[in-house]
């Protein structure tokens, strides 16, 4: 469904294991294969502790995978060092979940948004005021905010500043880690509108971490669902609720409350809580909570199989 020549980032067999204090290994990401395309958004959905943030952190060099490769323009970014790494950092930027903790409280807004530019010598310090104004206006904030401090602003305004900082270097790829979940719904809507507008204008690829399927459906081109370190389903974002078929994705979908739903509907939910990632079931990771679990699921781990182009699912019910 996507043009292969627009392929920007290609993650292959990425695995991350953390050693624990008692000598065991915790697998946070297990053999992840994902592709990011120019100008498109990939939404990564899952519950806390499923490894979605761990994976996205590899893309911005905040952590490194134990195994696997991540290709960016054909080069493996996990092996980059020194000048090459520094050079590439400007192409991939990140927006964090909580805008109030991702800024230095003692820096002015203009210093915050211009810091990446100064780091890469794109502007002179004397040009800072003008550039800050331009960036702030790009994210629909008044240019006068340049002289404020982060604590003088509301959460939505701060998140806009975080976006301004991320796009300052005109990156090709931005990771957004739950960038809207700390915001009120009406503010969330305007931030999503801003992100999609900037994406169209600048052809930026976005990796968006989220746990709200209703939200991600409204602006992602493809959506990957993660459960306990495994990708269980990859599907197109448009019409997601009709095509999604993995039992876990369905459960996530049934947990969405919106104002147009049928209020007399009984809430069906999956049993229990996710098991500890240290103590995974031997077969399918979802087998102990799945309503369709069979004997095969308990022993054999399902692999991702393609149902239709762009739609892959890891479940024995759909494999031949």
């Amino acid at each position: 469904m996507f043009d292969e020549k627009d392929l920007l980032i290609d993650a292959r067999h990425v695995t991350r294991r953390f050693p624990t204090n008692d000598g065991r290994l915790l697998t946070a990401c297990d053999d992840i294969n994902l592709k990011f395309y120019k100008g498109k958004t990939l939404g990564l959905v899952g519950e806390s502790g499923c490894g979605k943030s761990t994976f996205m952190r590899f893309l911005v060099w905040l952590d490194y995978p134990t195994e696997g490769e991540i290709f960016f323009h054909g080069k493996d970014i996990t092996k980059m060092k020194g000048a090459e790494l520094h050079e590439n950092r400007q192409h991939i930027q990140m927006v964090f979940q909580d805008p109030s903790t991702s800024f230095n409280p003692k820096m002015k807004i203009k210093e915050i948004v211009c810091e990446p530019l100064l780091n890469f010598n794109r502007i002179k310090p004397s040009e800072m005021d003008a550039k800050a104004r331009e960036l702030l206006e790009l994210v629909e904030l008044p240019g006068d905010f340049a002289d404020r401090f982060p604590h003088n602003m509301s959460g939505g305004q701060r998140q806009r500043v975080a976006i301004a900082r991320a796009i300052a270097l005109e990156p090709e790829f931005i990771v957004m880690d739950e960038a809207t979940s700390a915001l009120d719904v009406s503010v969330q809507k305007t931030v999503i509108e801003l992100i999609t507008r900037l994406q169209r204008e600048k052809n930026i690829a976005i990796g968006f971490i989220c746990h709200d399927l209703g939200l991600i459906e409204s602006f992602a081109h493809q959506v990957a669902v993660m459960y306990l370190g495994n990708i269980v389903e990859v599907m197109p974002g448009e019409g997601l609720s009709d095509v999604c078929c993995h039992p876990y994705s369905r459960a996530l979908l049934n947990s969405v409350f919106d104002t147009k739903m049928d209020f007399t509907k009984k809430i069906e939910n999956i049993k229990g809580e996710p098991p500890s990632p240290l103590d995974l079931p031997p077969g399918c990771p979802f087998s102990n909570r799945c309503p369709h679990c069979t004997e095969r699921c308990e022993h054999e781990k399902p692999k991702l199989v393609e149902l239709t182009p762009g739609h892959e699912v890891a479940c024995h019910r759909f494999s031949k």
Binding site: T41, E47, S48, G155, D184, V185, S186, V187, Q188, K189, I192, E193, T196, Q199, R200, H211, D212, L213, G214, L215, E217, S218, F219, A220, H221, E238, G239, S241, D242, A251, L252, L253, N254, S255, V256, F257, D258, T259, K260, M261, F263, K266, I267, N269, I270, E273
Partner: protein
């Protein structure tokens, strides 16, 4: 007569008037959702009902009546009898309200023994029973855990179990699902609905999730900057209300199969 009547209430923190002229009626077995953005004063309202305004907060005008009792005139002693018995509150993170260095069971037993003349052993058994009734398997193990050893969803269930111990007539819930994952949120919402069906508990739920508010509430109250801007039956608020702010909020909720931005 309504179970709870809030009439023209003003609430101030020191000299700052935070909530202006708030009125609300709640019948027995009714669920009311209060929605609004952060800082709109929704938590302040239910804290006032519980008599738990922090710091210099006080109700500066109006009346709050619960079951014929004027809540604003209660003495400290009368409050202790009412709170946790007839009126209970569930917080956003029930783990944070408990002492981190004590077992959940110890906190629970202390709570039960404050309200009832009962032996420690019986109080423990009562705690186990309530926890298991809230669908947490192995209540005894939960009682012997520290708050940080449980997941967010489990802690919230313990909080609900504590709040429901004496089957209160009125349950106040302050963002009870905001810190939880979506699937856990669905489980907790379902549990609240069952409380109403089984015990006829009246519930006020404060939330910023309009989907949850709409699913749970028979009645919805919309607040903005300390004022109630709109209130009414669910159907009215969702479909008929002409209030621009209500419309703006509803329009911003992402719906499945709804508007796409790309």
């Amino acid at each position: 007569m309504s179970l709870l009547e809030i009439k023209n209430v003003d609430i101030s923190y020191g000299k700052n008037l935070t909530v202006k002229n708030c009125s609300l009626n709640l019948e027995k077995g009714e669920i009311c959702s209060i929605v609004g953005e952060s800082g709109s004063g929704k938590t302040t309202v239910i804290r006032a009902v519980m008599g738990l305004l922090p710091g210099a907060g006080r109700v500066s005008a109006g009346d709050i009546t619960y079951d014929g009792i004027d809540l604003l005139k209660l003495t400290h002693k009368e409050w202790r009898k009412l709170r946790g018995h007839d009126v209970s509150m569930i917080f956003q993170d029930s783990g944070a309200m408990m002492n981190q260095t004590r077992l959940i069971g110890d906190s629970y037993v202390e709570y039960i023994m404050t309200h009832e003349d009962i032996s420690r052993k019986d109080a423990w058994a009562k705690g186990v029973e309530m926890i298991e009734r809230m669908r947490l398997p192995d209540g005894d193990r939960v009682m012997r855990s520290y708050p940080f050893q449980l997941s967010g969803g489990q802690r919230q269930r313990v909080g609900i179990a504590m709040g429901m111990t004496y089957q209160p007539k009125l349950l106040l819930a302050d963002e009870p699902t905001s810190a939880l994952d979506v699937t856990t949120q669905a489980q907790i919402v379902r549990q609240f609905m069952e409380l109403r069906d089984e015990y006829g508990t009246s519930i006020i739920i404060v939330t910023h999730n309009l989907g949850v508010a709409a699913y749970m509430g028979d009645k919805i109250v919309v607040m903005k900057r300390g004022e109630v801007v709109d209130q009414g039956e669910r159907g009215y608020i969702l479909h008929q209300s002409t209030n621009p702010y209500t419309k703006l909020l509803l329009d911003a909720v992402p719906t499945l199969g709804g508007k796409r931005y790309v």
